[in-house]
């Protein structure tokens, strides 16, 4: 392990053990599919390891890792946009060739919430998932995503509205 700026930071093994599931769930909730999520989690912790020497342990570890995970997921979506069916803003497109039986099968393997989150573009989705599913505060989100606090609140409000509509449509 490289020298740490702050020795009170948890060692990397502990960080992996405690934050693995949160990172996994966050990536899945941003739309990284099951077939790719192991690679994505791996890449998050590779980047985290490289930056761990400069990690400020006065900041909570989970949000810091989710900030890295957001960038990994964003890159994945840019690369795979045409393969997984995302529109220009990152929302998941309905499958035009999907018949009624296929649609039922898809819903069975996709949680109701996950399906509704697909209606949000990635920036809104990232904020809603961080805040409402992973319990981060708005200032934490602003810091980890490098966006103004007002933008967090705006994305949260708009994202929640869209989510509500999407959930209502699936109820």
């Amino acid at each position: 392990m490289a020298e740490k700026a702050d020795l009170s930071a948890p060692d990397f093994t502990t960080a992996y053990d405690t934050e693995f599931e949160g990172v996994w769930l966050y990536l899945r909730r941003l739309g990284v599919p099951a077939a790719d999520v192991e690679d994505a989690v791996h890449d998050v912790f590779v980047v985290a390891h490289r930056r761990y020497a400069s990690y400020d342990s006065t900041r909570p570890l989970g949000p810091w890792l989710l900030g890295i995970a957001f960038r990994v997921a964003a890159q994945w979506r840019r690369q795979r946009r045409h393969e997984v069916g995302l529109d220009e803003t990152g929302r998941e497109l309905p499958d035009a060739g999907q018949g009624p039986d296929d649609a039922v099968a898809a819903l069975q393997v996709q949680s109701q919430l996950q399906a509704a989150l697909g209606a949000l573009d990635l920036p809104q989705r990232a904020v809603v998932v961080m805040h409402d599913l992973h319990g981060l505060s708005a200032p934490e989100i602003a810091e980890e995503l490098s966006i103004p606090l007002n933008t967090v609140y705006s994305r949260l409000r708009l994202g929640r509205s869209k989510l509500a509509v999407a959930l209502r449509g699936k109820a």
Partner: protein, 232 residues
């Protein structure tokens, strides 16, 4: 569902979140698989000990890698490889069937896994692995997946004694990613390879240069250990 207000969470949202967490939870073994991959990628001798205190050795992980070649590599399979990796390897020397099969197999396995989850037809032009986004402090370029694939293959080749093949892969990485994200990992592998090849003077020279260029590298303990080993 009812009870929504604009900008507010829907009634029963907490129930949905719990169901979502159950639906998306990592499968058994995923945590340990990724732990071992991380130990190999990062070259950690003791950096990612497995749960229960067992230390995951990079060498042990590498030796548990893919099996040797199973046959000749067809042109069609070669074309599945991403351009950067092909250029990297082709720029140096001939890729052996074993290494190429490893790289292709890794891609095929991922495509097969994806097909199980997503019923859409597989695309022949899929990237080898998930690339990494740009990070604000330390850049994590989009080619990290390709870098990792090359170095994983090189690490396996070293562990299995396929030293010429490992040399090809390390050189291929250097050609394709001279300033890549895994440069330190590559140079550490190069030094270990030289040790295996019995090139003591060159290994020591590169070891000294590495220490000077990367004084705080996480690779340093592993390099020191390799250079301390008895020479063949």
């Amino acid at each position: 569902m009812s009870g929504f207000e604009e900008g507010a969470l829907p009634v029963g949202f907490d129930v949905l979140v719990r169901a979502d967490a159950l639906a998306l939870a990592p499968p058994d073994g995923a945590k340990e698989r990724i732990r071992q991959r991380l130990a190999a990628t990062l070259g950690l001798a003791a950096g990612l000990g497995a749960a229960g205190g067992v230390v995951a050795s990079a060498t042990a992980t590498a030796s548990a890698g893919p099996a040797p070649a199973e046959g000749l590599l067809g042109l069609g399979k070669v074309l599945l490889l991403k351009k950067a990796v092909l250029v990297a390897v082709a720029a140096t020397t001939t890729l052996t069937a074993g290494t190429a099969v490893y790289v292709v197999r890794a891609q095929q396995e991922r495509a097969a896994a994806r097909a199980l989850v997503t019923p859409s037809p597989p695309s022949p032009a899929k990237a080898l692995s998930v690339p990494v986004a740009e990070a604000p402090q330390a850049s994590a370029g989009p080619a990290l997946g390709e870098e990792r694939t090359l170095l994983d293959a090189a690490r396996s080749a070293i562990a299995e004694g396929r030293l010429k093949e490992a040399q090809t892969l390390v050189a291929g990485h250097a050609a394709a990613f001279p300033h890549g994200q895994l440069v330190e990992e590559r140079e550490a592998l190069r030094i270990r390879l030289l040790v295996k090849q019995g090139q003591r003077a060159e290994a020591s020279r590169l070891g000294a240069r590495f220490k000077k260029e990367h004084p705080n590298s996480i690779q340093q303990p592993g390099i020191d250990e390799a250079l301390r080993k008895p020479w063949p």
